[in-house]
Assembly symmetry: C2
Homo-oligomer: 452 residues x 2
């Protein structure tokens, strides 16, 4: 279960290969899960892969192939004869094949499509035409359909006969003559019903489905909310065109979380694993945001320049700038991250905005007061600054925390409302906005209280 | 699929209730998913709930009950007669019942346990004894077991006879006489085999399982890696004690992501939805980190104080402090969030630490150079500062970004290595560390170049 297992395993396989103990290697592979064999292949020397791959039985070979990273897949395909390629392609599910096709260069795609039978080729092209991140792009067309007037016995027979190549047989979809989705039936219901019950009498008619063009994130959210194993995908005429299974929905959830976290840290999202992303690509994903944020931070600098003279007469004030800026930034990002997560868990809607603001305002007041109190004691006892300076710093703290929390909760909600991803409104942007505000508050309070 | 639907629905149900159209309400409920009825109940006036809940058929009532929030559950239980409570309890799965029992006050728990039959009560107590966040605490004891010598026909018969109360019938577990787990069999394999095949000949013997005390996060990671619908939980003697189903694993994934994001924003994680958490509780989750970070930021202030005289002679230097601090913080959090996510996706291990540092160093150099260049142009053309000042600022930028990215990638990996959650080493702590470093670099370069 741990990737660290691959290191000794690589050594074992290497030695067995040297000793040409192919049967032993095959036996070892047979004790492993496809995902683990794939991880092993990714770690092994490229030149050994074609030979090792041929040791796998057909079905396991296909399952392993799907789990490999794209470089290894491409390498293997290049080494395949047409017959070998066809064998792998025949075992693959349509949605996995689409994933592979999307990552491969054109000449490899051509070979893959040529190896597929015409029906599969049609299904692949069908799925490929849906936009990235849509329900259509993650669905598979290999599902079990039943007719309303079938008996349970017929249905089970049909599933046993056609089920081998279906991505799931645990949910069957009941369709009318014109392929409209009229109900669904779980294998559990089928097995627990009498043989002569009729499908339309026992099927679930209250079916939650998604449209082909719905966002994949919405599909994933349905899986979180309802404990489904699969969800039907329909077109605008409510005709069944595919299904999404829970394992694919889990992958989408993972991708969406990574995307959110990257956006929250001011990085342009990418699908690639960290160690596989090149230095220039990483730079390219990060630099626009750093530049943008650097330019925004200039305004904060301008505020300081505006108060340059005042600062020169009371240089001690400069010493508290980092603490005020950091505390403001941290308070703001606490609020923004909480709200962003609440939005993506569907716990917070736009209509709650005033409840959220009111709550954050009270929390901010409590936090600000606590921080100001702690700081006041520190300033008077340890730093021994004048009472006026201590008052300036503490009052600024309270107001900064209040502004930071309000901005932190409002910006993500507004972003969502106008159609942006709320995750963009996380720490870095909040920090930049709060910096400027906290300094303005600081210098203005200082001007009044210290008569600068 | 959208929570916003509840508003008109609340009105509809309210009106139908006034008109005492109970049959209509029941018909409306029958078209809805349990999770949606629960959301509706949570939004409805408390006094109406007992009556409405009684309109639901038994099984749907139990499913809905599980999806409600704990306040609503407690309210309903208080209104239940003993018979009604027993009816709901009888329909619940053991793991759902454990979740409810964990949230309820002692007197309600007593009533619930009294309503359960002795076997269920034993199962609940069994699960309750496992620590929070362990595999044991999220498992259910309702699974299908088969014996190695059964035929497929026997197995299917057994599942059809006993499957009704099992959390899943799609994976059956094959156990030996002493309850040791010897294999598993999917319903698909069963249905696609011949009736007189024997279980031990067709079962999967290469079973991935977790131990009762394993972290629930590890369980969730297995579901991400292998596309299972359920995973067996075994004790130290490899005896089967429970299973975890994919829907519960998805809940764990969600909780772990929320926990990570909260830690990254310097908030003590909580299970409660945002709008249900009280103001004092929210304050309590946030204030320790704000205090800690405020105290850390004081060191940054001390660095400024140490250079007070130099600053007084060149106040213009103060104007660039926010930009340098923010850019350092942003660069560091980009690296730390990327690495934290990479660790939790199992893409990065500790052994990769030098590859990661080398990569971040090159990215940092590119980012630092780009930012310095942009800044240099701005400083010379727009701000018209002296060449020396521009050099100080730009050199500081390059060094700060380099330090920030290195610290940002190293700290989460070290945290993980010594057993802490890497998510703690996200933006706020990185920012605080980088602030101090960037100011030290700034003032030292300034001292040398400007002869302060």
């Amino acid at each position: 279960m741990d990737n660290t297992f691959t290191a000794p395993m690589v050594q074992t396989v290497d030695l067995l290969l040297e000793q040409k103990k192919y049967v032993t290697i095959r036996d070892v592979f047979l004790t492993m899960q496809a995902a683990d064999i794939a991880a092993l292949f990714d770690a092994l020397d490229d030149s050994k892969l074609p030979l090792l791959f041929r040791l796998l039985p057909k079905e396991l070979a296909a399952e392993t192939f799907v789990e490999m990273d794209e470089e290894t897949q491409e390498l293997l395909i290049h080494g395949f004869s047409d017959t070998e390629l066809k064998e792998v392609v025949d075992e693959l599910y349509v949605d996995d094949m689409v994933d592979i096709v999307e990552e491969m260069p054109a000449n490899v795609v051509k070979r893959i499509l040529r190896s597929a039978d015409s029906e599969t080729r049609k299904a692949i092209n069908e799925i490929l035409k849906y936009p990235d991140d849509s329900a259509g792009s993650i669905m598979t067309t290999e599902y079990v359909t039943l007719r309303p007037n079938m008996t349970v016995e017929d249905a089970i027979k049909r599933i046993r006969r056609t089920g081998l190549d279906k991505e799931t047989i645990y949910t069957s979809y009941v369709i009318s003559d014109n392929r409209k989705l009229v109900g669904l039936l779980s294998m559990k219901t089928l097995l627990l019903s009498d043989d002569d019950d009729v499908v339309e009498d026992i099927m679930e008619t209250n079916v939650i489905s998604v449209k082909t063009l719905d966002d994949q994130e919405e599909v994933a959210n349905c899986f979180k909310k309802y404990d489904f194993l699969a969800m039907p995908v329909v077109d605008n005429e409510y005709r069944l065109v595919g299904i999404v299974t829970v394992d694919d929905a889990i992958d989408v959830m993972e991708d969406e979380v990574t995307e959110d976290m990257e956006m929250m840290a001011a990085i342009t999202p990418t699908d690639k694993p960290y160690l596989k992303t090149g230095v220039f690509e990483t730079w390219y994903k990060r630099i626009p945001w750093l530049l943008l944020l650097m330019i925004s931070a200039t305004f904060t600098g301008m505020i300081i320049t505006g108060f340059e003279e005042a600062l020169a007469s009371q240089v001690i004030l400069t010493a508290f700038i980092p603490m005020l800026m950091d505390t403001g930034g941290n308070s703001g990002s606490q609020a923004s991250v909480t709200v962003i997560r609440g939005i993506s868990l569907d716990e917070i809607q736009f209509k709650d905005i005033f409840r959220v603001i009111w709550k954050e305002a009270r929390v901010a007041f409590l936090c600000g007061a606590t921080l100001a109190l702690a700081n006041f004691v520190k300033l008077m006892v340890f730093d021994r600054v004048s009472m006026e300076i201590a008052m300036v710093v503490c009052m600024t703290l309270v107001i900064t925390v209040l502004c930071a929390k309000i901005i932190g909760c409002v910006l993500p909600m507004l972003a969502k409302k106008i159609g942006f991803d709320p995750a963009v409104m996380a720490s870095p942007f909040i920090t930049t906005a709060v910096d400027a505000i906290s300094l303005m508050v600081y210098f203005n309070i200082a001007s009044v209280l210290l008569g600068l």
